[in-house]
Symmetry: C2
Subunit: 350 residues, 2 copies
DNA sequence: CGCCGTTAGTAATACGCGTTACTAACGCGC
DNA sequence: GCGCGTTAGTAACGCGTATTACTAACGGCG
């Protein structure tokens, strides 16, 4: 086995085509504007005949480019595991990268771990950083040094281009839908601890909707979820134990599924007793029981946009500082007008 | 901005430490067994002081190694999108790679697209190929040439080491659970078209269980799913329209969710009227309504094992041809003993 | 018609940077 | 004083790309 044929080099192609290595390089990189068709063809033919593929490392060494971008996952393991949209985003990035003949490296990076090896060793030409960042001085330095970085999510205080949805407005729209239906006691379960900007933003949207709707924000109606369905289950139980409400906004479909289970276990029927709105519109949301009203986040498009912005940035072009993609509230059967009072003290203004 | 300090090279480290580049290389790669501690320390100190990171491309060019493995996703876009376990597997691979100081490149490869660029350009030292392969001559050639490849899934006719679960036995166990509960009319919805070995194997497990249980295999009880929940929904509707059954084995949790919805829409209650068993045990399965009995597939462990085998293979060690990881049937509330016949033909009309 | 400035087309060469033979110097034991 | 092991240095190598250099053909002009 292991034929180990010795990799054709550009010199092999050159001699077979009867030209110099320079010409081979120029032709194959489509840079030799002045090279006539016949020569070109000879080079292509020779390359194909030999099965020549330029040696990636050599090319990287010579050109200072690795044709690689890295997707840095700055989230805990559990968080990634629950991120139903990550695969889609990844595909989007890969697609955009592929269009520019780049490839994608995955770099899970626990908080505290450094980017330096990845970047300083010249392994990637640019970074898509996914996930929240409280304060990330190393990342800021990187950006300050002019290294191409795109943030997928809220850029916070880092001066890099970002791609995201408008979490505040999206959440507001979702909650406004509940208000429009006539709900007055609307609870909220966050998708993550509030140190994460996405979570904070969605909660802010919830507040804004209440404000606009003339309702008062009540801390007792807010519970914290942590990425997974189990946390939604717990949060729902907590809320049910301490207060009552006719609608529930959960800032993540995954968490919402757990919450729905919690409601059911309390004997409540969705949407008769409680309406539920989720966030993300994961593929499964449509098949929940009942199908979940949710905010559709265009994960694939986010990935594509992030990839494209990074590619452009690497190419030295001017790129938008901020790319905000639209969301859409998908209304399904988990939301309805509140049931007529079943005679209880329902708190708040009637 | 863009300070553009000019990357320290090994020569910089060498001169700062007062040694030669050779010594730097030996020390930093921990290969110079004969270099005394003081020299070693000087090199380390100099490297740290300068923030030296060996240039990846240069290293690859010199050493013929790229310290990179590629995860080749040989599935359609939709399939990947629905693969709830992919993220976990990816993390497993990344973990194993990291432990050997390798990184992971993602390569979505539509059927028909070639590996050659990736491999012949020396971009990766090895491949984890995920997803089914009907007949893949190029992959076979690669393996024949001695290129390190690990198959995640059923290796089929390719002579590369593989990592997988035993789909046949796992499915059999799941269906046996239904039989043990007393079910006699057990339907099946596949997770994918049967050209995929995993799908075929799971169906085979279903058949075996019936056989062992003394039941006859009835084609009318089998419907084909295609990765997503919607297909499960359709398949369930089809089954309900043409036959009746008291239990349903769905070879994918995602598909099962759709099927459950279909059952519900037909007015059936799970598990009272129909028991359902899924496959994969995705994180959400526990929160379905009712919580879904399912076969737990250790996705993370599969990824880790695949990564580890590949790493060892690249290092030239002898690796197991086949690694089969155990599954576990997780029994939840979606399965129960069949209801006493409520008066005759159950065919959806009660 | 011959010379010169161009330009097109291709070649020669240097370079990027770490690794790895191979080589040399050094100190030690015998 | 010789041989050996230890320790460090020299030089070549891997392979493409960028830059500079050169050659031949071509057009214009005197």
């Amino acid at each position: 086995m292991a034929k180990q044929r010795p990799r054709p080099t550009s010199a092999d192609v050159a001699s077979r085509a009867g030209v110099s290595r320079t010409t081979v390089s120029l032709v194959l990189n489509e840079r030799g504007g002045s090279i006539p068709e016949p020569t070109r063809r000879r080079v292509y033919d020779a390359a194909r005949a030999l099965g020549y593929h330029p040696h990636h490392s050599a090319r990287g060494l010579a050109g200072g480019r690795t044709q690689t971008i890295a997707l840095v996952l700055r989230q805990s393991a559990e968080q990634v595991a629950e991120d139903a949209l990550l695969t889609e985003t990844l595909r989007g990035i890969a697609g955009a990268a592929r269009a520019a003949d780049l490839r994608v490296l995955i770099e899970p990076l626990m908080p505290g771990e450094a980017y330096s090896d990845l970047v300083r060793s010249g392994r990637a030409d640019g970074l898509v950083v996914s996930g929240p960042l409280f304060d990330d001085p190393e990342l800021r330095d990187l950006v300050g040094d002019g290294f191409p970085v795109v943030i997928q999510g809220n850029a916070a205080d880092v001066a890099a281009p970002s791609v995201d949805v408008d979490n505040v407005t999206s959440a507001r729209t979702a909650v406004e839908h509940l208000i429009d239906l006539g709900h007055r006691r609307i609870a909220c379960i966050t998708n993550a601890p509030l140190v994460y900007t996405a979570a904070a933003d969605r909660l802010e949207g919830y507040r804004e909707a209440l404000l606009i709707g003339g309702l008062t924000y009540d801390e007792a109606l807010v519970a914290e979820g942590t990425y997974d369905a189990a946390s939604g289950h717990r949060a729902a139980a907590r809320l049910l134990a301490s207060t009552d409400f006719t609608a529930l906004f959960v800032a993540s479909d995954v968490v919402a599924l757990g919450a729905m289970r919690g409601l059911r276990e309390a004997g409540l029927v969705i949407p008769r007793d409680v309406s539920v709105v989720g966030f993300d519109d994961i593929a499964l949301a449509e098949h929940f029981d009942p199908p979940l009203t949710s905010v559709r986040v265009p994960a694939r498009a986010i990935g594509e946009a992030a990839g494209r912005v990074l590619v452009d940035r690497i190419a030295g072009q001017v790129v938008p500082v901020r790319t905000i993609l639209p969301t859409e509230l998908v209304i399904r059967e988990s939301t309805a007008t509140p049931a007529k009072r079943r005679g209880g003290a329902e708190g708040g203004t009637h």
